[in-house]
């Protein structure tokens, strides 16, 4: 047991230690400084820009950034949608898996486009190797999009008045080629030497030791899993995601995959400090996030280690913790830790089945995605947190009776309206979706085209836990997370289409909002700091931001959590 807890602590610390130099490196890249990789990557980037006819030195304002961002996403969506719809007829399909239905292709294309990777299929039987490659492409570029958006916001926070905010394509390509690609390759190579397959051969037929015939799925998994974690995508190559013994073969690979997903979200916060030369500010942000993270991690790990009281009553000792849905090689401690890391960070890969987690863990996993601002996904984590900072600055300003200012820029009605809208959109999407689905399930409505059978049969568990399954699905979609209470019967038009819409709205609006705020603020006059300025690099301001986040989350989500995991917790006692 102690070796398990020690594992959790060391993995967190190792990620932190690696993230600081990476943050310095990322800051250098966005500032255009020289780095070690320059001689190799400069020519590649130049070639790509030259052939595509994109001028990467054109300075863009925030609207041009958005236009470029949205247009490339549109093209990628159609590319992916088309491949998924026709994969059965396309090459690289040794297992002869069929083409996707339109609603599933819609959901899958969007979910990989928006860095969510909600998967309503199982990789072994649902995708050809060609589709896996195309989805892997989206895993790279969707992470790059988030980082490019964050980079623009970094630049906008500089102490000057301008509407020239760098070039979108430049930030984007640099993020992909100089950060995501090399890190993913490192992870992939570690994985292939630990037993993860990287082959284009299909399923293998074997006769087992005791004489049964069985098949084993393989594939080009290692390359996929590298970017899956580095890019905080989380989409599994196999159905069971990182619980699958080929996707995550050992305790060591589990540690590597955990570090890989924590790395860039950590590093982006440090990068901000290095980039703006405001290290103290980034430590305050990181501190607030870490306190929030630990408040979620500790109860989760404890409740998983304590095991299931209902099974204990049957006379089975829970000395090794709650094992339903968990793998012996990981154990409950690191599985509990992973479940919070993956939900806080918007990765959404799982190494244990969240549906079978203890009620306390279910509640903290949900809460992590409902807050969606502690660390967060590649780049977008910072954007979400930025919205809360604007709100906190505004509220603090009201409290002391001064015009709110943030880094020398006045925060006015327009910016606050945008920030408030973004902060409310997230609970709105989650609760509307859940309300609709639970209304249908409660009435056991006949669903016609939308679902074969009556609505209640999409649940895998009765009662409070069934409600949690629906709540989890929309929360995961709205947080662009991608993990699931996978018992839910979600591969049907109802879930594919409703979550697809939630995914789209909750990806692009929370990118548009912060970019607009940052762009508006950047063009305002710079007011030098004076005695009356609200200092944003202090503990008090950190507490203020934390309070804003906690209050918004509590007001929005407490009733839903009370109906689901909390009620289940008290019924299990």
């Amino acid at each position: 047991m102690n070796t398990e807890v020690f594992g959790v602590i060391s993995i967190f610390i190792i990620s932190l230690v690696l993230a600081i130099p990476l943050g310095r490196y990322i800051a250098k890249i966005y500032a255009g400084d020289k780095t070690l990789l320059d001689p190799i990557v400069n020519p590649i980037e130049k070639l790509i820009f030259k052939v595509s006819g994109i001028n990467a030195t054109d300075e863009m304002n925030w609207k041009q950034h958005l236009k470029a961002l949205l247009s490339v996403n549109m093209v990628w969506f159609f590319l992916c949608f088309f491949v998924l719809l026709t994969q059965g007829m396309l090459p690289l399909n040794p297992d002869n898996n069929p083409s996707m239905t339109a609603d599933l292709a819609f959901n899958t294309a969007i979910s990989f486009l928006v860095n969510c990777n909600l998967q309503h299929y199982s990789g072994e039987s649902g995708l050809s190797y060609l589709s896996q490659m195309v989805l892997m492409f989206l895993q790279f570029v969707s992470a790059g999009i988030g980082m490019a958006a964050a980079a623009m916001v970094f630049l906008a926070m500089k102490e000057r008045a301008t509407d020239k905010l760098g070039n979108f394509y430049n930030f984007f390509l640099k993020s992909c080629i100089r950060v995501l690609l090399p890190l993913s390759a490192v992870v992939a190579v570690i994985l292939i030497f630990s037993g993860t397959p990287m082959t284009f051969e299909g399923k293998d037929k074997i006769v087992t030791l005791q004489g049964d015939t069985s098949e084993v799925s393989r594939g080009s998994a290692a390359a996929f899993i590298g970017i899956k974690h580095i890019g905080t995508n989380g989409g599994g190559f196999f159905g069971a995601n990182s619980a699958h013994p080929l996707e995550n073969p050992t305790y060591f690979t589990n540690a590597v995959e955990l570090c890989a997903q924590l790395l860039i979200p950590f590093a982006m916060i440090f990068a901000l400090g290095f980039y703006l030369k405001k290290r103290k500010f980034s430590y305050v942000v990181f501190g607030v996030m870490t306190i929030g993270f630990l408040l979620l991690v500790v109860p989760t790990v404890i409740s998983e280690l304590n095991g299931n009281p209902a099974i204990e009553r049957m006379g089975i000792t829970q000395a090794t913790g709650a094992m339903e849905g968990k793998e012996v090689r990981f154990g409950p401690a690191i599985s509990g830790f992973w479940s919070i890391a993956t939900t806080v960070i918007s990765t959404g890969s799982v190494n244990s089945m969240h549906d079978s987690a203890m009620p306390v863990a279910g509640a903290t996993q949900l809460l992590a995605m409902m807050i969606n601002a502690f660390y967060g996904g590649c780049g977008v984590g910072w954007l979400n947190f930025y919205v809360f900072i604007i709100l906190a600055v505004f509220i603090s300003g009201l409290m002391v009776g001064r015009t709110p200012e943030f880094l020398g820029k006045k925060i006015e009605a327009r910016e606050v309206k945008i920030a408030a809208f973004i902060a409310i959109l997230h609970p709105f999407l989650i609760l509307t979706g859940t309300a609709l689905a639970s209304y249908l399930a409660a009435n056991d409505t006949a669903m016609g085209y939308w679902f074969s059978g009556n609505a209640a049969s999409w649940l895998n568990n009765p009662g409070h836990h069934g409600f949690s399954e629906m709540l989890y699905e929309y929360t995961s979609s709205a947080a662009n997370n991608g993990s699931g209470f996978e018992g839910l019967g979600d591969n049907n038009p109802f879930w594919n289409i409703t979550t697809g819409i939630v995914l789209l709205l909750s990806r692009f609006i929370p990118i548009i909002g912060p970019l607009a705020i940052a762009g508006l603020l950047a063009s305002k006059k710079y007011i030098p700091e004076s005695a009356g300025t609200l200092k944003t690099d202090t503990t008090i301001f950190g507490v203020m931001v934390f309070a804003v986040i906690a209050i918004i989350a509590a007001l929005s989500f407490f009733p839903a959590l009370a109906l689901g995991p909390l009620a289940e917790y008290f019924s299990l006692k």
Binding site: V134, D204, T208, L209, E327, S356
Partner: protein, 184 residues
């Protein structure tokens, strides 16, 4: 229009880089890994009996058993039961597994059965059980194979992986059973 054309060319080049060159480079590296990236297998008497990392179904009395599986150890699929901790139907299933296990191991007290032997894994392909999970089966296997209990217990101990720094204690069931077949 010129813009769209640029984006298409840009996309094409990125697809080449991330979905062709990157995976091929990793594939190239995989040629130097065990079994060339096709997954490590275990052989016995010249026959491939399975993949090292993928659990198999064992339900005959002369082998050590692995964990219950929600997908019946089908390696072409994977997944857990996704049953919630408070689900009555699920708890009844666990009770049934306990009873079945006790019938095959009548010498056991319930309290000796570790949790993983009566709960399904996340992948349904978990290759491992805990040392305790293997040790409680020794007597049954010894009786069935007519080998001294002590010898089999030593074999289990040799197959146990007990990390001193990080992670839980494990035994690979397939590797243990392969070693068991080689025991004279």
């Amino acid at each position: 229009m010129k813009n769209i054309f640029s984006i298409l060319k840009f996309t094409f080049l990125l697809v080449i880089l991330f979905a062709v060159i990157y995976p091929l480079a990793i594939y190239g590296m995989a040629q130097f890994s065990p079994n060339k990236g096709k997954g490590e297998t275990i052989t016995q008497n010249g026959r491939v009996v399975g993949y090292q990392k993928i659990g198999q179904k064992f339900n005959t009395l002369n082998y050590f058993w692995g964990r219950p599986s929600a997908v019946d150890y089908n390696g072409a699929g994977s997944g857990g039961s996704n049953k919630g901790a408070s689900n009555e139907e699920y708890l009844a299933l666990v009770q049934k597994r306990i009873d079945t296990f006790l019938i095959a191991h009548p010498y056991l007290n319930k309290l000796q059965i570790p949790a993983e032997m009566v709960t399904a894994s996340g992948s349904g392909l978990d290759p491992n059980i805990s040392p305790q999970g293997a040790l409680i089966q020794v007597k049954r296997v010894a009786n069935e194979r007519k080998i001294a209990e002590k010898k089999i217990k030593e074999l289990v101990e040799a197959q146990c992986n007990r990390p001193s720094i990080m992670g839980p204690k494990t035994v690979n069931v397939l590797a243990l059973n392969v070693a068991l077949n080689e025991l004279k």
